[in-house]
């Protein structure tokens, strides 16, 4: 069991892992994984910029990520342009870090993650997002299923634009908070790898979500234990563990 000092980071990590796993399943179903890379990188760029300007980090990161998401929504291209936007975000963070001492520290924090230093404020924010995710779940499921039908067209009316906007806002919040708490590589590994691994053994949508949650939580718990026991940074350990779990799930499912 984590000690008292680590209780807040541990609970924040469990909660944000759950939200990211759900977001990852949605991104997998939508075929939008490149968007996650671009969003996460620009959330980090926003956080670094906020540290230079001495502005509050979360609102700035959210605003920058929302602007990038608005841009991505206008681009029908699903791979190359989101990748270019991701690279531009990487360049922006590197240039800021090279020119401002404060930015260098912030960039390192966003890259490595600050899970062990997660504050009660972050825990509340993640908890609130988790509660919102539960409330939104029926709508998210409807949108994600509806997105599968094209080029066929159902006779049922499509989801209203407000629901689609809510999904986008939720996704931006999940990626920004996840990146803030876990660091960019760990947040992306929690979103993308469990959903990918889960896609092989899952029998249906519900099963995909359960497998994604199980793999993501197992990855978090194993990485938490290993990094503390071996005195290693958490984020890279999590990336490697999640990669191993996803590959293992795929291997078992394909052979089974």
């Amino acid at each position: 069991m984590p000690g008292d000092l680590l209780l807040v980071p541990f609970v924040a990590g469990v909660l944000v892992t759950s939200v990211l796993a759900l977001a990852g399943a949605g991104l997998f179903l939508r075929g939008s994984v490149w968007q996650a890379l671009a969003l996460g990188q620009w959330a980090a760029a926003g956080g670094v910029l906020a540290s230079i300007l001495h502005w509050p980090v979360l609102p700035v990161a959210l605003a920058v990520a929302a602007a990038v998401m608005a841009l991505l929504q206008r681009i029908p291209e699903r791979e190359r342009l989101p990748l270019a936007i991701f690279l531009a975000g990487l360049a922006a963070v590197t240039l800021l870090a090279a020119n401002f001492a404060q930015a260098s520290l912030a960039a390192a924090a966003w890259a490595e993650g600050q899970l062990y230093f997660a504050s009660p404020n972050e825990l509340w924010a993640v908890g609130a997002l988790g509660a919102v995710s539960l409330l939104l779940w029926p709508g998210l499921r409807r949108i994600w299923l509806h997105a599968q039908t094209a080029p066929d067209v159902p006779a049922t009316p499509p989801s209203g634009p407000w629901l689609r906007l809510t999904e986008i806002a939720w996704l931006v919040a999940a990626i920004v908070l996840g990146t803030m708490v876990l660091g960019l590589p760990a947040a992306l590994a929690t979103m993308l790898l469990p959903a990918w691994g889960a896609a092989y053994p899952a029998r249906n949508l519900t099963s995909l979500l359960l497998w994604s949650q199980a793999l993501a939580q197992a990855g978090f718990l194993i990485a938490w234990g290993l990094s503390l026991a071996l005195d290693q940074p958490f984020a890279p350990v999590l990336v490697l563990v999640n990669m191993g779990l996803a590959l293992g799930a795929r291997l078992v499912a394909v052979r089974g």
Binding site: Q148, P151, D152, R203, N204, L205
Partner: protein, 202 residues
Amino acid sequence: MPSRSATPILSARSALLGFDRPVLGPLSMHVPPGARWALTGPNGAGKSLLLRAITGQARVHAGRLQVAPGVRVSLLAQDHPRRQPLPLSGYDWLRAMGARVTEPSPVSALLDRRLDHLSGGQWQLLRLAAALSSCSGHAPSQRLILLDEPANHLDAEVRDDALVLIRGLPPETTLLITSHDDAFLQAVGVENRPLAEYIDAR
């Protein structure tokens, strides 16, 4: 037979259809409720384009193409490639399409299976069943079903099942089909309507 004087469920007046630029038309047609039409014509005549324009997937550049108010339209597209892996079941697909099948159905055995584990013919049959029963709670006379080459990919095993599904539609429901498979169209029992007949004289 549908009444010729009834308000059309679908009407086009000098409609120019296309994607970036108009490639079909001007086209004028009135489809009465309850019609069962097969739109025929050579490849490239614009049959699929017309169906996609009806659902809003293609543009109406000029003229008018109008579905009667309150009518629900579903479309079975000509092809629907599946991503790999695709962790959704037949039940998920029905839910996505807002469809409900009455058991026993020719697709009952497919509902528990993953979509990417179905054969090409089974996948086509499931999509067909979903398009036919999408929004089936709506009044049958207020439903317009568009089937673009529904006989594609249907092997002998599922072809008869597809016919059973189409013939099981309520008689008030309007059906527009495109197909190059004359035997299939005859078996369905639809009226052949060459698309060229609806192109306005210039």
